[in-house]
Every structure is written in structure tokens, then in C-alpha cells.
């Protein structure tokens, strides 16, 4: 039995990770590890980087093809896709965000890991709506690139 089956929290070992070079370009990391009947990510990809053998298969992102556009981030029904880009000691993490209030660009917010634990603060760099989902890009320290997966916005 895998740990996430009991606790719900994925570790980086459960996920296909990009190389350093691919991270510098900025790519979508698919944190979708179970075979569930779902495939909007495949349809959403403008460069056909994401593929699935069948509708129940786990999606695979070809990091070399991926352009990090984040369309899949907004369209994934499981909110399980994050675009990560590492540059100059900083990591830009793009994530879906379904809570109010929606942060504004330039706002400093708490950044949380997969356990919902506060790890640091980060600067909101971009706020867009993709499909009908808010997608937020937050800048954090490069070391936290693979850990930060949520934000907490002061009310």
C-alpha cells in the first residue's frame, strides 16, 4: 500500500519530475497518479505534449514538447496540474485556486506544501482565469519548487 492511499498526500517519488533544464523552460507537472476515467488535459494541450493510452490511463507529459502555457492547469478537473519554472534562484509556481478572496498581482501570500503546512511567503506574479478557474502564479525560493502547491490569502 502506498502512503498516499492512506493519507492522500503525494510525495515527489510518486510523480514524474522534469529535468533541471526542462524546469528552466517551465513545464506542467501532472500530479495525477491514479487510473481514473478523465482526459480533459489531453484535449487542452495546444502542443499535444500530454498523452494517455486510454481514458483511464495516467496522463504523461512530454516535458520536451510542453511549453508551460498552463491551459491544463485551469482545465484539469482534479486540480492536479502545476506549472513550475525555475530561474535565477526563484521558482514560479502556477496553480489552480478556487477560494475567495482571489489574490492580486504584487500581493504577498503564505505558501503551503502538499500537507497544507506554511513553508514561507511568496509574491503573486500573475492572476488569470483559464476556463472558469482562477490560476495563480506565485514566486518562491527555488528550493521550494517541488514543495509549494497551495497559497493562503489573508481575508
Amino acid at each position: 500500500m502506498k502512503d498516499y492511499e492512506r493519507k492522500g498526500v503525494l510525495s515527489t517519488k510518486d510523480i514524474k519530475l522534469p529535468s533541471k533544464k526542462q524546469l528552466e523552460k517551465g513545464v506542467a507537472i501532472l500530479e495525477c497518479v491514479q487510473e481514473i476515467p478523465c482526459n480533459p488535459c489531453v484535449d487542452s494541450c495546444p502542443v499535444k505534449a500530454i498523452s494517455m493510452k486510454n481514458i483511464n490511463a495516467v496522463p504523461i507529459n512530454d516535458f520536451d514538447k510542453c511549453i508551460g502555457c498552463a491551459r491544463c492547469v485551469g482545465l484539469c478537473p482534479g486540480l492536479a496540474i502545476f506549472v513550475v519554472k525555475v530561474k535565477d534562484g526563484k521558482a514560479l509556481i502556477t496553480m489552480p485556486y478556487e477560494f475567495l478572496p482571489v489574490p492580486v498581482v504584487g500581493q504577498r501570500v503564505e505558501v503551503l506544501d502538499r500537507n497544507g503546512k506554511k513553508r514561507d511567503t511568496g509574491l503573486v506574479k500573475r492572476v488569470v482565469k483559464i476556463g472558469k478557474t482562477m490560476v495563480i502564479t506565485v514566486e518562491v525560493d527555488e528550493k521550494l519548487a517541488m514543495d509549494i502547491r497551495n497559497i493562503k490569502v489573508d481575508k
Binding site: 500500500m1 498516499y4 492511499e5 492512506r6 493519507k7 492522500g8 498526500v9 503525494l10 500530479e31 495525477c32 497518479v33 491514479q34 487510473e35 481514473i36 476515467p37 478523465c38 482526459n39 480533459p40 484535449d43 487542452s44 486510454n54 481514458i55 483511464n56 482545465l75 484539469c76 478537473p77 482534479g78 486540480l79 492536479a80 478556487e98 477560494f99 475567495l100 503551503l112 506544501d113 502538499r114 500537507n115 497544507g116 503546512k117 476556463g131 472558469k132 478557474t133 502547491r149 497551495n150
Partner: protein
């Protein structure tokens, strides 16, 4: 509850109005016969009666009407949509099944289609109306339907139809523990109705019991509504729902604890806390592992039981199939039960989820149209297409339970033949 002198009213679905008198009712009441007896009943004739306007029922009604048969769609709620109108999350599945679209939007789209067909006089929708019973007809099926009017009076209808599609959904399971009757103990469906339909906070701090998709999704929706979720406990050793739903909760800081369940609720007049306990591999409480949880609300998301009472009354044969959630009406791959012209779709035919319910609805709706004379190559091909779509959605590991359930159901059907 008694409303304006009328007993046995389900106040949770009765609309409120100025000056209405709502009273507690602690025992069976005498029916105010004079109000009902001797009142004329109205008669409606239709080709297909669809019972329940959730995802399965709406799709069944649309499909039948599109293929040229007259449809009456009846639902006891004020709005059509069933559980869809509470589903604020995006749906899974493929493009054809509205993947990526929120349930509430799917409900709106289906309702628009219903209204269009209504304008074309191909279909009629009756809300706030309950199908109260089946009466044998000579050639056609007959049902009693009660429509509740806004002044709390009601009108009785006799509906005569060639075929009927029962898409009555399911009922939530309850758990036995001391204090489970205290105000503040809810089913997950009730919590969703309060929050997402009526905009009412069910509480401030919630203990969620059950980590299937319903428990996980409702927990997340509670957080979105600004309500604290203390944790999710799950009696099974693994999380039953999708990991993506669990992960969403976890990154908001809500712990999910497996092999744990609720032992009792604390409080005199309302929920003031709860005791949870670890379970061993035989699902038995481990003494000494009790922990007190501070909460004012306990939400139970511990599974569903198919609603089959009407099907039983009609005389459709039923079997107990654990993987389907309890007793279900046996049906073939056209969703027809053992009674000719009586179909079933959605959770009533075995607990599953909305995407498959919608396809089952289409299959039932199309099959009913075919039985009524619209048999042609095109329709047969479409039917096959729907069956393939259904199979695809059930092909993964999470489709195992419904796969087993449906195999058992068709095995029983074979034996009956």
C-alpha cells in the same frame, strides 16, 4: 413536521412563505381527510414517464423526447437537476460527458434542453411532484402523482404511460452511534443542499466521516464556504475516493485519517464534539485509542443505497448486490427491468456517479423510444455507441465495483430468462 395544519410535510423541500405555520410533529398524525377526499383528480397521458430529474432522469427524458416519443418528467424537488445543482466541482470523464465542466453548469445545460423540448411540446416537466404509487393498467402503466402547490395544497394526477424510466437516485446511509440524532449530525447531501443550494452555513467546525469521493468533495466545498473542517476519518484502511480530491484537501491542511471512525457524538441539545476511535483490521474499535474532536457539526458521507421502492411496487425483480449499494432492480443492457416497459437508470440501478448515470439515462431513454416503435439502424447504432462509452468509463480500477455489480445483475438476468 406539520405545515399550515397539514401533517407529514417534508419541510426540507417545502418552500417557505410569509406567515406560514410550521409545527413539530412527534407522532403519526391524523390526515385531514376532508382536504383531500372527493377532490377531482386530473389525468395525464404520455408515452414515457420519467421519475426523477437528476442527471440520469434528465438525460433519459431528453433522449426519449428527441426520438419522437412524448415524455413526462416528474421530480419531487422544486428544481430539476437532482444532485447536479450542488456539484460545484468540475466533472471528470471525457469531452462527450462534459469533462471539466462543473456539475451545476451541466444541470443548467440539461435544463435548457428540457425547456426547448417543452416549447416544442415534446416533453413536459413537473416539479414539486411526487410519484406516490403504481397502479396496474390494462395495457398501459398507471401512476399516482401528487403535485404540491405553493399554498401547500396539492393536486392528484393519474398518469397513464406506455413506459416508465425510474431514475429516483439513492438515499444516504446512516451510521449507528450514540448521539446520531442530535441537531448538527448531517448527511453529506444535506450539507451540500444547505451550502450550495440555499447558501446556509451548516456549522462552523465539521468532522467529516467517510473519505469516498462524496466525503472528500463536500469537505473541500465546506472549506470554500469558509467553514473549518477538523479532519476526515475513514473506517477503511485506504481512502476510497480519488487521490486528486484527497490531495486538494490535504494541501489546505485538512488531515485524512484512515482506519478511524466516529464512536459517539457529545452534546445535550446539539453537537458539541465527537469521540473518534482507531479501528483494527477487522474494523473493530481499539480500546484506549479514543480521541476527542472539537466540532459543532458531524457530516456523514458513508455511502448510498439505491432508491428502488417504486420499482419493487411495480413488481420488478430485485436482488441484493453489495457492490451496487444494496437491493437493485435487475436490468438488461438496455436498462429494462424484468417488467416490460419499465426501465431504470442512474443510482437507482446501482450506486455509481453522475457521468455514468447520464449515459445510463440516455440508454434507457433511447431504449424506451425503440420499444415504442422507433427501431431503426441509426438508433441501434447510437445505442451501441452509448454502451461503449459506458464501458470505457468503467474500465479503470475505480470502475471495478460497478463492473462487478453490473456483471452480477446481468448474470441474474440470464438466469431469469
Amino acid at each position: 413536521m406539520r405545515v399550515d395544519g397539514i401533517p407529514n410535510v417534508r419541510t426540507c423541500i417545502a418552500p417557505l412563505k410569509e406567515g406560514v405555520c410550521v409545527e413539530m410533529q412527534d407522532k403519526l398524525a391524523d390526515l385531514p381527510d376532508a382536504k383531500f377526499v372527493g377532490k377531482p383528480k386530473k389525468k395525464i397521458e404520455t408515452n414515457v414517464l420519467v421519475v426523477g430529474a437528476g442527471p440520469a432522469g434528465m438525460c433519459a427524458a431528453i433522449e426519449s423526447a428527441k426520438h419522437g416519443v412524448k415524455v413526462l418528467l416528474v421530480d419531487e424537488n422544486q428544481h430539476v437537476g437532482g444532485q447536479l445543482i450542488k456539484q460545484t466541482h468540475k466533472f471528470f470523464g471525457s469531452k462527450q460527458e462534459n469533462a471539466g465542466t462543473r456539475g451545476i453548469v451541466i444541470a443548467k445545460e440539461l435544463e435548457e434542453k428540457l425547456r426547448e423540448l417543452e416549447k416544442e411540446h415534446k416533453l413536459k416537466v413537473m416539479t414539486s411532484s411526487t410519484v406516490i404509487g403504481y397502479y396496474e393498467g390494462e395495457k398501459r402503466h398507471r401512476f399516482g402523482v401528487v403535485e404540491r402547490c405553493s399554498d401547500y395544497s396539492s393536486v392528484l394526477y393519474e398518469v397513464e404511460c406506455d413506459s416508465v424510466i425510474i431514475a429516483a437516485g439513492a438515499m444516504e446511509n446512516m451510521l449507528l452511534f450514540p448521539g446520531n440524532d442530535l441537531p448538527g449530525v448531517y448527511g453529506a447531501g444535506a450539507v451540500q443542499t444547505l451550502m450550495n443550494v440555499y447558501g446556509v452555513k451548516p456549522g462552523e467546525k465539521v468532522l467529516m466521516v467517510g473519505a469516498g469521493n462524496v466525503g472528500l468533495i463536500v469537505s473541500y466545498q465546506l472549506l470554500q464556504a469558509g467553514i473549518d473542517v477538523d479532519r476526515v476519518v475513514e473506517a477503511a484502511p485506504v481512502i476510497g475516493g480519488y487521490n486528486v480530491h484527497a490531495a486538494k484537501l490535504c494541501r489546505c491542511g485538512v488531515p485524512i485519517q484512515t482506519s478511524r471512525s466516529i464512536k459517539e457524538v457529545l452534546g445535550k441539545e446539539k453537537v458539541e464534539g465527537a469521540i473518534i476511535v482507531d479501528l483494527d483490521e477487522k474494523w473493530q474499535p481499539i480500546p484506549g485509542s479514543e480521541e476527542k474532536v472539537k466540532c459543532d457539526t458531524v457530516c456523514l458521507a458513508v455511502g448510498l443505497t439505491p432508491a428502488i421502492r417504486l420499482l419493487s411496487q411495480i413488481g420488478a425483480e430485485t436482488e441484493f448486490i453489495p457492490e451496487a449499494g444494496g437491493y437493485v432492480a435487475l436490468h438488461d443492457n438496455s436498462m429494462q427491468t424484468t417488467v416490460r416497459g419499465v426501465y431504470v437508470a442512474g443510482d437507482s440501478s446501482g450506486i455509481e456517479e453522475a457521468s455514468t448515470a447520464m449515459i445510463e439515462g440516455k440508454i434507457a431513454g433511447l431504449s424506451a423510444a425503440i420499444l415504442l416503435g422507433h427501431k431503426n439502424k441509426e438508433n441501434q447504432k447510437l445505442l451501441e455507441h452509448y454502451r461503449e462509452e459506458l464501458e470505457k468509463l468503467r474500465a479503470g480500477p475505480f470502475g471495478e465495483k460497478p463492473r462487478v455489480a453490473k456483471t452480477k445483475i446481468s448474470d441474474y438476468m440470464e438466469k431469469k430468462r
